[in-house]
């Protein structure tokens, strides 16, 4: 069931927000008031449609409609992704008055959406005698015939209040983006536009002679359809004509004058002497493929000696005066003399430009061994000079075809010969290869992997090696030097012995502490534990320059331990002894005994 949506037409494009659920259509027109020749943009936006048909834009009387492309837009809000497809059209009014954009129908998700007609006011551009556009070229031409054309833009120089704009400043007033240049857009590509200028004088509407800058754009064009007055695809020139200007404050950086007020004027080609005639139907050969001009065809074949069924590469080179770049190949399957003796594929040949000729290659295969030549290949074109269709022929190409070699039994059984004769393909090295189309890969970054990982590897390598080196040295020392192992374990052993003595009720605590202290000194000094007495321990400590205070503490501790072993010591005294012994061992350890 059709739904109607009102068109929202404002001076600036205003698109109503769509509903996120289900398909929705938005429609916009901008602007609502315009001048003849100025582009009106119409957008149809299809939101969130799973499936849709492209809008069908109806023809509009008094205006030209051009498709300006489509675009997709994806927006994400949270987890919800919204996809919009926008179809843009340019409507170019060709006469003043009221222009109605009729309903546009769009099919989406099984429904048909229809817009309401929208009216646009088209004003005649009051360009007066400020701007003229004319096209120069041969008067009568045929469709597809090349014409050397010149687009001339006559622009009256701005002169007011002793300010006279020069030809460069006036050219800058031409709005190149909003103008429609047709085939002349090529002249404006790049940094140095191919535009020449001269100064001319012509009478204005009042018969007064006025000075004009005339900008000329030359281009060879090939009309694609017949017309009484060829307009080169609807060229429209838009100019932001100055109304007021002043001397530039930054004369060295930019132009001499800066425009302070302007108005838009536009015009289409007002004068074109070129009439494009259709190609005559009478006498049109069946092999005619649209070529217009004067051509010659040359054929060659390789190899010249083949067996029946072997591929022969037939190369056709078409040269001459005409549009070679778009020339279509002769259809070989329509060449009776060729298909009588050769097997010819049906597909259309793709040609390449080589040395000023359009070159087509095709593989053909002789059907029998009585073939002695590739017959002449015919190529038909329309010659605009003689105004008649002409068919040219290549020379025949002599070849030698032998009987096809019979397969040996062994070849059949082993399958080495395959199903038929091998095809030797001739590769064409010139030509453009296809784009990459994996969008995920195209959008991925190919930057240098320099980050924390890189610096970790750079620093980590030597550190790892040094750590390994230290570990190995330590291991070697532990294995080769038993004294070192005793010294390393002395502190831990002494503390463990003191602790064990405190928890073991069968052994007197004082004896354990004494064993721990003397054992510690023996381990550190690498002497047998059994032989170390109190005086030996003190002597060893003094020999190793242990501070006297610490030596005295050890001596006192050992003395108290001896007393406690032979006298009665309270449990509290014994615990105090253990704590002091621990402190003493710790201090000796800190002193690097």
């Amino acid at each position: 069931m059709p739904r109607r949506y009102s068109a929202i037409a404002t001076s600036t494009l205003c698109l109503a927000a769509g509903v996120a659920l289900g398909a929705d259509i938005r429609f916009g027109v901008s602007p609502r008031e315009t001048y003849v020749g100025m582009t009106v943009q119409v957008q149809v936006v299809i939101d969130d449609a799973k499936d849709h048909m492209a809008p069908v834009f109806p023809e509009i009387d008094g205006a030209e409609v051009r498709s300006a492309g489509t675009s997709r837009n994806m927006t994400q809000m949270g987890r919800q992704v919204s996809v919009s497809q926008t179809y843009t059209y340019h409507v170019i009014p060709r006469r003043a008055g009221t222009l109605t954009i009729p309903s546009i129908s769009v099919g989406a998700d099984g429904e048909t959406f229809t817009t309401t007609p929208t009216t646009i006011r088209v004003l005649k551009s009051e360009k007066g005698d400020l701007l003229y556009v004319q096209l120069l070229g041969d008067r009568n031409v045929y469709v597809g015939e090349s014409i050397e054309t010149t687009l001339e833009i006559w622009l009256k120089p701005f002169e007011k209040d002793r300010i006279r704009m020069d030809e460069h400043e006036m050219w800058r007033t031409v709005d190149q983006n909003n103008s429609s240049w047709g085939p002349f857009s090529e002249n404006l590509q790049g940094r140095s536009p191919q535009v020449s200028y001269r100064t001319e004088v012509r009478p204005d509407a009042n018969g007064k002679r006025q000075r004009y800058f005339v900008y000329s754009l030359n281009r060879t064009v090939w009309p694609e359809r017949p017309s009484k007055t060829f307009d080169a695809g609807g060229v429209t020139v838009v100019v932001n004509y100055p109304l007021a200007a002043r001397r530039s404050r930054f004369m060295l950086l930019g132009g001499r004058h800066e425009v302070t007020n302007r108005r838009v004027i536009s015009t289409v080609i007002e004068d074109s002497p070129i009439t494009v005639k259709p190609l005559p139907l009478a006498g049109r050969p069946a092999r005619f493929r649209g070529a217009v001009g004067q051509y010659a065809i040359h054929a060659s074949a390789a190899p010249a000696e083949v067996s029946v069924g072997d591929p022969i590469t037939l190369t056709l080179a078409v040269r001459g005066k005409g549009r070679l770049e778009t020339l279509r190949a002769p259809v070989l399957s329509l060449q009776e003399s060729l298909i009588a003796d050769f097997r010819v594929p049906d597909e259309e040949l793709a040609g390449v430009m080589e040395g000023g000729a359009r070159v087509f290659t095709q593989s053909i295969r002789a059907k029998h061994d009585s073939v002695t030549e590739v017959p002449p290949i015919e190529f038909s074109f329309f010659d605009p000079q003689s105004e008649a269709y002409t068919t040219v022929r290549s020379s025949s190409v002599p070849i030698e075809v032998k009987e096809s070699a019979k397969l040996a039994v062994s070849q059949v059984t082993e399958g080495s010969a395959g199903g038929g004769a091998t095809t030797k393909l001739t590769r064409i090295d010139s030509g453009l290869l296809a784009n990459y189309d994996d969008i995920e890969a195209l959008v991925s970054q190919q930057t240098l992997p320099v980050g924390w990982g890189t610096w970790s590897v750079v620093a980590g390598g030597p550190l790892f090696f040094v750590a390994t080196l230290l570990l190995q040295r330590r291991r070697e020392r532990l294995v080769g030097d038993t004294g070192f192992a005793r010294r390393r374990a002395a502190h831990r052993t002494a503390l463990a012995t003191i602790h064990r003595a405190g928890t073991n009720s069968n052994e007197p605590l004082a004896a354990g502490i004494a064993t721990a202290l003397t054992g510690y000194v023996a381990d550190k000094c690498n002497v047998p534990v059994a032989g170390v007495t109190r005086s030996d321990a003190v002597l060893q400590l003094r020999t190793r320059n242990v501070p006297d205070v610490l030596v005295s503490q050890v001596d006192e501790l050992l003395a108290e331990c001896e007393s406690a072993q032979y006298g009665a010591a309270s449990h509290a005294d014994a615990n105090d002894l253990a704590k002091r012994a621990q402190r003493c061992v710790n201090e000796l350890e800190r002193g690097k005994l």
Partner: protein, 261 residues
């Protein structure tokens, strides 16, 4: 070029922008296919399509995406528009990222074959390219990554040799060291020029190469040069550039007549 700013990379990696860029890419590819389909039937509309394709590829690059295949596609669009110089520049940018790519090599070769001026390279350059083929055929990021792996492996093998002298780890460590040093030198040659414009291509026709940086200087060669001629940038002075052509000849050209990369 390779070391894109972190901010740009982060932007591209953000989901929303990435989605938009993917849509742009899809449109650009569609426009290119549309142009290819109609270039022999309706050349004017094909040119419009190729132009749309080129502009969209360019927009994705301008958004911060650094990708060899993307530059390759941009080069194709330029070539279809007849912008030979810009096409070669895009292919050369791509070749820094994917130097070994066969399609890229073929299209760059094709684009170069279309240039009006075929200037042969000097023997020294050709010899260098032959001897150090790996330097010219491996992308910088591959060389850096491989170098890092070999560097790490060398230290592991060196440590292993200390720990277990009986294992035959000496020669593998030596090989790792030599290859790593080669890759490090190769990367060191390229790294300082990252982000700096050092090569260029002419994008205008009838470019007069002059003996100095101004119109007042005499022409350096009798023949003007045409778009597609590649060069090395020697010096920048105002709006002029001192360039060295593949055959070793030098001269000055206007900056606006060339694209640097």
């Amino acid at each position: 070029m390779l070391v894109s700013s972190t901010a740009a990379v982060a932007q591209v990696d953000s989901g929303r922008l990435r989605g938009e860029l993917m849509v742009q890419l899809s449109d650009a590819l569609d426009a290119f296919d549309r142009g290819s389909a109609t270039m022999h039937i309706a050349p004017d509309s094909a040119l419009t399509a190729f132009r749309e394709s080129r502009d969209k590829f360019r927009a994705v690059i301008d958004a911060g995406v650094t990708n060899g295949q993307l530059y390759y596609n941009l080069g194709n669009a330029h070539l279809r528009l007849g912008e030979l110089g810009h096409a070669i520049a895009a292919y050369r940018r791509a070749s820094r990222l994917i130097p070994g790519d066969e399609q890229l090599k073929a299209n760059l070769r094709f684009a170069r074959s279309l240039t009006h001026d075929q200037i042969p390279a000097t023997g020294t350059r050709t010899a260098l390219r032959t001897v150090f083929f790996w330097h010219y055929s491996l992308p910088l990021r591959i060389r850096v990554t491989a170098g890092l792996i070999l560097y790490g492996l060398f230290w592991i093998l060196a440590a292993g040799r200390r720990m277990a002298p009986r294992l035959p780890l000496g020669y593998p460590a030596l090989v790792c060291l030599l290859v790593w040093v080669s890759l490090a030198i190769s990367a060191a040659v390229d790294l300082p020029s990252q982000g700096r414009l050092r090569d260029g291509v002419l994008v205008a026709n009838d470019v007069v190469v002059r003996k100095g940086n101004g119109e007042g200087y005499d022409a350096q060669f009798k023949q003007p040069l045409h778009e597609g001629v590649e060069f090395k940038l020697i010096e920048h002075r105002g709006g002029w550039m001192d360039i060295e052509l593949p055959d070793g000849n030098r001269g000055w050209v206007r900056q606006r007549d060339a694209e640097l990369f």
